[in-house]
Symmetry: C2
Subunit: 134 residues, 2 copies
DNA sequence: ATAATAACAGTAATCGTTACTGATTAAGAG
DNA sequence: CTCTTAATCAGTAACGATTACTGTTATTAT
């Protein structure tokens, strides 16, 4: 009889649960405005962090100074476009193998792991190509 | 005839050039105080960022909300202790192999890469062991 | 030594995030 | 269906790391 499922929390969950684009708190806030017109940014942060702490979602920090949120809690890597900033999943990589590789060169005990790959995303690669040809 | 090498910049470089502990700007600021008693934190930031932009050092963002600085600009991975926060180099891993592995599962062009491993560092593993035995 | 300007110290501003506070409201009990 | 109460809220203030501004200082070339 502890946790109440408020309308705001439900709206935030509905918004993020199927996302694959790793929105920021600000983006969630804007996206949830239609369902909850006067929700506050603090409420969005509080709920997102609570969802992280209870394992419903995970946070992704890609180095742009902003926290991104990800409903996909399975082990996977991320690609960040240096041109447009998009954060894209890299599925199917052998995460365990990478962990083993690093463990072989370190004396401590490795528990978690997160990797970020940088470069031009498919979209930006395409527009860079059209720009050079014209 | 553009860049002047100030006493402050020299002191910052002398402080960081052989470090392997990935100090923050605040730590560099404190460490450089003996050589430059009234240097300002802004000067430390400006110079560290300038050194990064010119490739003398690199920045390391491990997810603790603070930028760490690293004079080792060669490709290498990092380990972050979840207990004490230390940032430790993992040398000798096959960085290229990891990049290839990820590239195989992604359609964009991967240029850079950085990985962070989390767990208990050797020191904290040791003290955790003594605590359980006593 | 002098001039030109890169770089400085000090301080104010920015921005993402967190903490506080009095008002709502979801959910279990009767 | 009320009633109670504690979880959650909206609004706003505070926070901490980083960046920007401004008038002064000091490095470098002449
Ligand atoms: Mn993801
Ligand atoms: Mn390093
Ligand atoms: Zn892109
Ligand atoms: Zn440790």
């Amino acid at each position: 009889m502890a946790t109440k499922f408020s309308r705001q929390r439900q709206a935030i969950w509905d918004f993020i649960k199927d996302r694959t684009d790793h929105p920021t708190a600000e983006a969630v806030y804007l996206g949830v405005k239609s369902a909850c017109p006067n929700i506050s940014l603090g409420t969005v942060y509080r709920n997102l962090m609570l969802m992280r702490d209870t394992g419903m979602i995970r946070t992704v920090e890609v180095g742009d100074g902003v926290i991104h949120f990800d409903p996909n809690t399975t082990d996977h890597n991320h690609f960040i476009c240096t041109n447009c900033g998009k954060v894209i999943d890299i599925d199917g990589g052998d995460v365990e193998a990478i962990k083993q590789e690093a463990a072989a060169h370190f004396t401590g005990r490795i528990q978690g792991y997160s990797a970020y790959f940088y470069g031009l995303c498919p979209d930006c690669t395409k527009s860079a190509a059209t720009k050079t040809t014209e």
